[in-house]
Structure formats: structure tokens, C-alpha cells
Point group: none
Chain length 155, copies 2
DNA sequence: CATTTTTTGACCTTTTCTGACCTTACTTTA
DNA sequence: TAAAGTAAGGTCAGAAAAGGTCAAAAAATG
């Protein structure tokens, strides 16, 4: 249990223990650990992804950098997966209404929030109908619920 | 975050924090930062464009100058409508990032909310690219912001 | 031994920086 | 007062400086 990736992870965690956000240079860090630059990407993908509560932002070009931020909201464990299951790739208006109704009953959303979602989503769908609308509705609804539910459970 | 362009950006932002509009001389600013004059244009194009909420006007010849004006979009009243205008029917990731950045600056969103939107929207876009992604991104982003902004200003 | 995780390297994309050359506006002078 | 000179800023293409991707090889794991 101490591959190079583990060492790099450990190093970054130490930095992140002191600051909520750190900036690194891929090349420099790679030189520091005597590895190839893409190894850094591997560590970031496997250890500092969103599931583990980190956000990575990077910029290329001269003065480029990689910023790792510890995030303040617990990614709600398997909400994304469940929403994926429940909503799927298409969602009719009736299905959406049903789901929203159930979420209000379960007190996951307030009535106001449900109404807001309904309004905003339907507004974005104006002019569309049939399968096209159902596909888009599924995506919009998923994003909407992820936002509202995550907001409810701040770290 | 410390390329020459970043430094010049920072300097100009400081000026613009005190006045809504500033006038500079390209040559002089270039001398000040020990760079070639066209570097200034680069900074203006990438950091002070309309997407980031700035207007640039310039005049050549003797006594020439460059004027940068901050667009003051007032946060509260009809933000939703403004957002729809700004987002339009397509939105690249860079445009989205720029907009989120500005909303954080304007204290319409917190950094966490911005990160949340970024994450959730990008997640829904996995597998898509090009125009298709840009179209969908515009829609998802609009819904996301409408939800969060309404939540912030209920009623 | 099969599978998963790690490591590496070749090739790609984005962002920044520079310099040669162009255009516009004001100033001077024949 | 028209032409020439001077003093700005603009454009664009290419070099340089980052970071990204992906697949194959190597190592670890069970």
C-alpha cells in the first residue's frame, strides 16, 4: 500500500489539510516525484474526483495550473444513481409530475420547490413535444433535482 | 494564476474596482509590464470582453487611448430575464465558466453553488461534444440558474 | 491465471507571448 | 491647405508553454 500514486495522493492531502484549495503545476509535481506528467492526471482522476469530495479545475498554456478544491457539500451518496434509475433517458410530463408529487410527500422537496421545478422545466420545453421533449425533460429534471437536493444537505 | 496576462488583468481590475470606467494607454501599460503592446490586446480580448461584462472602446492616433467600462448589471430585479438573454441558445464551457465566475463576483451565487452547477451540468453532458453539447449546456444552465436564483430571492 | 490498478509515452489541444506589418488620427510645414 | 511626418492603436500568424487523452505495458492483487 504505497504505490507512487499513493505517495502523490498523500502529498496533496497534506497540502489540502492546510488550505481549502491548492494550485499545483503538473510538470513540476511530476519532476518532484520523478514520474511522467500524465501520472498526475491519474492520481487526480482516481483520488481527487467529485465522488471523493474534490473539484479539479485546470488551465493550459503558459502559466497553466491545476487547482484542487475541497468541496463543502457532501456529495449525497447515491442520489445521482437513483435519479438516473428513476428518471432514465426519457420522462413524460405525467412522470415528472408524479415524481415531484412523491418527493413532496416524502418531504424531500417543499411544495414551492416542486412548483418551481415544474415551471422552470416546462418553460424551457416550450415549442417542443413528443420524444424530443421527453428526452430533454429527463435531463433538465435530473439537473434540477440534483441541485435542489444537494443544497438541502450541505456538508 | 500568475501569467503575465493574469497580472495585467489584476492591475486593470483594481483600477476598475474604483471607477466604473478607466482609460489607459496601450504603449505605456505595455512598458509598465515590460511586454509587447499587442499583449495588452490579448488581455482585453480574453479577460475584458462582453461575456465577462466589460466594454472596450479605443481610439488610434495621437492622443489615442483605450477605455474599459464595467457593465453594471444590477443583480436583483429581473435577473432571470437577463440570464436568458446572456445564455442564449448555445453556451460553450468557457462561456459557462465566465458567467458563473461573474455571478460569484456579483454575489448572486456562492462559490459552492457555482461549483455545484458546474459539476452537475457537466455530469449531465458526459459523452456529448460540439454544438450538441453547447445547445444542451445552455438549457441546463438556464434551468439551474433560474432555480438557484429564485431560491435566493423567494417571492 | 485472470483481473484490476498503476505507470509510461506518443500525440493532441489550449493559452500565452512575440514581432512584423497595417490603419487611423493628429501635427507640422511647404 | 494639402502633403508629409509622427504618434498612437489593431491584426494576425507563429512560437512557446503549459495541461489532456488514450492505449499499451507493467505491476499488483486475489
Amino acid at each position: 500500500m504505497s504505490s507512487l500514486s499513493d505517495l502523490i495522493e498523500q502529498y496533496l492531502r497534506e497540502q489540502l489539510a492546510r488550505a481549502e484549495s491548492i494550485e499545483i503545476q503538473r510538470r513540476q509535481l511530476a519532476r518532484m516525484f520523478r514520474c511522467v506528467p500524465s501520472q498526475i492526471n491519474y492520481v487526480l482522476e482516481t483520488r481527487f474526483n467529485i465522488h471523493r469530495g474534490y473539484l479539479v479545475y485546470s488551465r493550459r498554456g503558459g502559466g497553466g495550473f491545476i487547482r484542487i478544491t475541497r468541496i463543502n457539500w457532501e456529495p449525497h451518496p447515491d442520489l445521482p444513481r437513483r435519479l438516473e434509475e428513476v428518471i432514465g433517458s426519457e420522462c413524460s410530463q405525467e412522470e415528472m409530475d408524479g415524481l415531484l408529487y412523491r418527493l413532496v410527500e416524502a418531504e424531500v422537496l417543499t411544495e414551492n420547490e416542486a412548483a418551481l421545478v415544474e415551471t422552470v422545466v416546462q418553460q424551457e420545453l416550450t415549442g417542443l413535444s413528443g420524444k424530443e421533449a421527453d428526452t430533454l425533460r429527463a435531463r433538465l429534471l435530473r439537473v434540477a433535482l440534483l441541485l435542489l437536493c444537494q443544497e438541502d444537505y450541505p456538508g
